[in-house]
Symmetry: C4
Subunit: 499 residues, 4 copies
């Protein structure tokens, strides 16, 4: 058994050991892979930093056995002193001041509170997106180009918004989509979502990059609870095969293969945050050769993703699993058609929450395109049981979901809003978020004149402006500043002010 003192000597670039959950690992080789942040914990106990951003088995899976140096004597390990900064103290104080959950009226509200009470880095990681963050906002904006054509005088005493996804029942036409690093927002991470999904009768898609391990999330489910799995394909197909077959064995009902992330995107807001948070001395020392360092932990644990994945790999997938295969991240009708022709079960029209290619179009816009062309080319109509279309990104209201359903989606994935919900309020937050969506579905289906999801049809929306990507002519500053804005009637001055 190693002593803390011995570990503490391996605290540099030449030899870097760290302690995680009482065991010592030689992570020197990680330093060259861009994960220089590890150095901060060289020779020390890194558990607290490690936990929120790695599943428990990440280090063991990624390090060869000879680098597992075995347990350390607990009492010999020097405590890493946690300095609580003034910023953190203020944050704790803000947590105390959260409004009661009953004052949270919509999904936006969770985000507002999460922004106040989350650690700055965690907020930056969840909220950031690619380049100029045009696409992340477009994802939401696109829904505002779709307007309703509600019907009247239909019996909406009882409205039923349950539906099925790939043949599995769901209480609402939504699912919890895969997002990474769930413990950044709450120590229980994705497990919160597993439980909320059970409670509300909806389906969770387990992410490859969860903070919780895959088995934890399956173990956390109720008997008969349906779960899907999101897969990043590993360069080492043997690993992929093992993961996929393990998932199938554990009862996963569908495999969503991510195809929009051959390389994880640059998210500058996240990168800038890291600079601010780090030791300025270190920053200036490392200089210009240090471009990638700032891309942080997510990049490090994602470097396994295979940029060589191609259509011809699908046969191999079909050979290793019977789970229905869905491509996640399809972005034009041509690729949706190819997926259909290859016999897949569906596609998720998505741009990865705006985190990958900026100026990628919104899923909802691609949906309209796919429905149109797959009808023309193959005579398909949507929603379609055999080949299902899903969308995700930008959803904040049940009306957003209903627009997607009307345009032909089978269901809609929601991600960040649930992260914000538990980052702000823990499990109760997610419960409340789902309750709000439930209430919104009930209300809005009544107002639409649609007693069931099947009654939410294409004619109920006007999406004729969906593809209008308008950027106005730059403003005329001189004219505008000369223009004197009209004023409405105003109260007279108070008497005291008149004297």
């Amino acid at each position: 058994m190693l002593s803390g003192k011995e570990v503490a000597q391996h605290n540099g670039r030449e030899s870097c050991w760290i302690i995680v959950h009482g065991k010592v690992y030689d992570v020197t080789e990680f330093l060259n892979g861009g994960s220089r942040i590890i150095l901060k914990y060289a020779g020390k106990d890194a558990t607290q930093e490690y936990d929120p951003i790695h599943p428990p088995d990440a280090i063991t899976s990624n390090l060869p056995p000879e680098k597992h140096l075995g347990p350390v004597q607990p009492d010999t390990v020097e405590k890493v002193e946690i300095q609580i900064t003034d910023e953190e103290k203020e944050r704790f104080e803000r947590i105390e001041r959260r409004p009661s959950l009953s004052e949270i009226l919509n999904l936006h509200d969770f985000e507002s509170i999460a922004k106040e009470v989350m650690p700055v880095k965690a907020w930056a990681y969840y909220s950031s997106a690619a380049d100029d963050e045009i696409t992340i906002r477009e994802n939401h904006a696109a829904y505002h180009r779709i307007w309703f054509r509600p019907r009247i005088m239909r019996d909406v005493t009882n409205v039923d918004f349950s539906s099925t996804i790939l043949g599995h029942k769901t209480s609402m036409p939504i699912y919890i989509t895969a997002t990474a690093l769930g413990k950044l927002g709450h120590p229980d991470g994705e497990l919160i979502l597993t439980r909320a999904a059970a409670q509300h009768g909806i389906i969770q898609m387990i992410p490859t990059l969860a903070s919780c391990s895959f088995d934890e999330l399956v173990d956390g489910a109720q008997p008969e609870q349906v779960q899907f799995f999101q897969l990043y394909v590993n360069k080492d197909r043997a690993i992929t095969k093992r993961i996929v077959q393990h998932a199938e064995t554990r009862g996963i009902k569908a495999l969503f293969i991510t195809v929009d992330a051959p390389q994880l995107g640059r998210r500058e807001k996240d990168m800038r945050q890291k600079f601010e948070a780090e030791d300025p001395a270190e920053v200036s020392k490392t200089g210009k050769d240090n471009v990638d360092r700032s891309q942080g932990a997510a990049r490090a644990i994602s470097s396994f993703i295979d940029p060589g994945l191609k259509w011809s790999d699908l046969d191999w997938f079909k050979s290793i699993t019977k789970m229905p295969l869905i491509l996640k991240g399809v972005q034009c009708w041509e690729d949706a058609l190819e997926a259909y022709d290859q016999g897949l079960a569906g596609v998720v029209l998505s741009n990865h929450g705006g985190r990958q290619l900026d100026f990628a179009r919104s899923g909802i816009e691609i949906l309209a395109e796919c429905v149109k062309h797959l009808k023309e080319k193959r005579g398909l109509t949507f929603p379609n049981e055999k080949f299902q279309l899903f969308v995700d990104g930008g959803v904040r209201r049940a009306t957003d979901v209903l627009k997607a359903i009307a345009l032909g989606a089978s269901a809609v994935g929601i991600g960040r809003p649930f992260l914000y919900a538990y980052s702000a309020y823990g499990p109760d937050g997610v419960d409340r978020a789902l309750q709000i969506l439930h209430d919104e579905f009930e209300m809005n289906m009544r107002l639409l004149g649609a007693p069931t999801i099947k009654d939410v049809v294409r004619e109920m929306v006007d999406a004729s402006n969906l593809s209008s990507h308008v950027v106005a002519v730059p403003s005329d500053s001189l004219f505008n500043t000369n223009y004197e804005v009209m004023q409405h009637a105003v109260l007279k001055l108070p008497l005291k002010a008149k004297i």
Copy 2:
């Protein structure tokens, strides 16, 4: 006769009595219907809270006779002390500072002043709308997409903007549409509108949810004054029948059946206001199970509305009344066509002032659609005496009305602006509002080259952009902040500043 002391003992959830206008009622059962605000007045005199939001007969109509406990001895009732808060004092001071009515130049001005001088809750109730309040603003914005093509060299010495609505004369092509809870803005409530309608020769539509009772509003009318009635259909059709036939007996000239509100919409601005105004201790106690409590009195008195109303019910309506039937809240041409085919007298193209389904389209946009399709399908032209199209929502100027007339409307309903007018200035406010509209009609018909309403024709407007629901590409923050805005010539510094 009950004593105040006895009443005061029934002050809890188990038994809850209240006093209204000197009579005692057992309202325990209302507590379970969501109206928990009543508890605040349990065992006390609730008249002051009750009056602005209920017609006088509401409690007697809704409570079974055995819950009418009879009169209370007036002098034994403990006075509910009215605390005048600092906010209220400041509001009273603002009322003193209102500008003279002659400084009110347009309908917007009433809203500006009302916002300052109304109780915050009343303002929130009148001004709030559904979800993200997109539709309430769209209702007005849509008018700005319509532009005039005025004609010249026509004799407009005399312009006549009188017209008829369902065969009844009106001095302007507008009517006062139904809105709820009129006493929130002024103790005389909707009666102010009844009188103003008489004075200016226009028609008032009496609301089901008026603060004044139906009979008060009919009694308040002049002989020969034409009134319409807006109906929320009760789940109990016997009640509906009684109300409708009473209305017909009292001389109501047309029945407007609301069809866009099977359930009353969530208005978050209103809900948020209620949280702020209430006792924070109570809020935290009630916790998350209390979702609906915040939806307040309007919800409570509207729970009778039948979400099961359907097209086949129209035959029944025809069997119980000879009044012309108009559907209020039609939102697509298909339903307008159905109403026409069912032999109704017309439809109001409306989204309930943006208070029901967000992203419902504006009435004016639906108007253009209906005119087009009813022409194609049934050869109708508009305006049409047999089947009239009305619109409401978002109107602030006579030019807005004239745009609707040009597009084929028979008349336009105006609601909130009159509420703001009397909330700010009482009856004189509504008088002034109507005078302003009168002046605007005269001016603008002259400028349009239209001596009469019949001369306001389709060719006078360009509505080609009416259906453009544009949301711009999200802005490029980095580029825009780098751009240095151009400056115009500026004065030299003052001499003193130079030294």
Copy 3:
């Protein structure tokens, strides 16, 4: 000869005398015509208030001879004490601080300076427009929807932007259009424009409502200087005949009959200004019956305009004058066509600078429509010598003018910019303004690849968005406030700030 004392006794509504330029007039009857502001000068010398807003002969032309009471003894007249307010003092100080004329780089700059140095009322009168002032801004905005398609490799060593208007030579394809009350901005009023027009070889259109008299402006012209005349048609056609024939006699070369102002528009910014400026005591006294009082002097002197003017009157005009007739204020192709068919010399496509009907379209948009339809209906091409199209409104740059020329206009009218130029800098300002336009024409014709005005052709502009009247979907406040705007790199904190 009357004494000041005697005049001073006629200071009320029953009998109201005023002194103007040493003569006494009984203006009692004007009080009933809305001009109650006169009362302020009842019994006093009103010259100073009268001058800027009336031509010298206004009072004599409008009052019957028996109301001309003759001269007053000058030394007996009580001086009306001019109180110089603090605001005025500050304004005089700002006049001292005007930047040198060489710092004025464009027409916008004059407006910026004028806004600072003009009396508030004068600014309000010049800058205000109808209703919500949508059209006045649209007039300028419309030019920004037109983009250039410049040509290269053409010899632009010498560029010549002279042209002809109705057969008369002009050094640039612009003219000074008619605007009212020129002395509000400078005591010399429209005479400044007469002289500048001569100096720069352009044409002035003399306004009916000039502060200077018609004859002053004709007398102020150089021999051979071409002037046009803008006519408001009087209800009394005998007066109109006299005016028109006098104009012809004096050598006016074309008659522009205003057809977009059967009634002068309400300009709320102007009206609101008047309230602020006046005695609050008086305002509250007059109460609500006093609606029109605020519309001020311009309304009073314009009440003669005939709202009954019609197409059939044109024959009469042809019978009383040989001057070419042009309609000013045509707003759709149908009326332009009618003018052509009636044999007129042209039309001005204009909405009266946005001061009449709000939501009237811009002249430049109407131009494109007219060119298209007059080609279709009558085979006309533009620019056209026989039937000329003019536009005005919103012009600030030579590029604006060149866009109009490319679309088919013969010339463009410019109004407010010249008023602002002399209000800010007197005659030198107008000289500079014209020099700036001259420089801009030279530069931009070179850059367009157009050596002469004839080379500025339709293919040089892309006007395909000209008729797009877009109003965006209302913004999503909750989403937008949650979104954290991206920040660019920033400087490190200063050392001192770090400690």
Copy 4:
């Protein structure tokens, strides 16, 4: 040899001598050409002012030999005292506070820092553009109207974004375009770009108006380094011939003839800056006759440009050089077609960075037009080896470049971003800028599913809104200020604040 004292006597308008690099020149005649700023240095050593804005040989080339008065005795020259203003001191302090280069994440960041650390005049010169600066912003905005249609499941393990330009290899599909006065931002001027181009394997276009001399920039290149030359055609064709043939002799590989600048544009931001920076006394003295003075040095040294250049001159160019000829500044398909028909090697679709004709369209918009019409008229497809299309203006991201490539461009010119890069950080800045572009190309080609530049095809972009020049209807101020913006949930007040 002249003495400083003697030189100092020629310090007026009648006789004006200056010293540059130890030699005396009689520049009296320049004073009449608008270059009155020279007077400030009359009789003195002007080297420091002269250097950043003129190539070393400018004065000798432009002055006849008899005005070269020979060397001055160095020790007799009175030192021009350089006053370091407070503003300059603050700027030096800001230079110290620049963030480390590793914190610069994108090209925008260089601009942000350059704006802080550059001399105000230099910033104004680089950043300013024509008239209202609409086009400079449109150049960037236009890229935001183009959206991606990325493809998935393609092997992007290796991405190669090298390409060729006019047959010469480039590591990325970009080149450094010609910009003037490079020493304003850094004393090494354009030489920095020459070296960076060599290091990163891209091509520099040498500008006629470089601060460094042509030969310096060619001498600074590596053997085999490809350079292009941008030519302003001189009125004196003999000079042009000499320059062109010298360029060819020195190994220049292509001649880009600027055709969008027969006269250099007015840039008001730059002009206004000059006024502010100069002696106010002088400004008021010179008065209104001094219009051109403010246009500064750039104008003076550019007055040689021939506005008479025309298509028929191309034969002459072909007769004096074998270099491929490309027209820089083509702005419509008609002229691109003409260039093709005349056998040129290509065109640059450009509006001179928005510095010439305001409301000229963006290069990227013209690109789409040219590809369409040259296909229709001549059956060409793009990118095309025989006739290449280039664009420049507004590029900030590799995604911008990839959009142009997808639309048919062979390569994209980038100018200002590199000036800002070295103005902020010197040569390291440009190195970092190119590295950032490199990283962005790699990332975004992966995400697009394009392993090579040839895989970036037309179908990968949706450019259907590219030509939408939308200007919204002016806003409704009264309605908007009355509207109360929705608020999200907020934290409770801190406890202390409650007391």
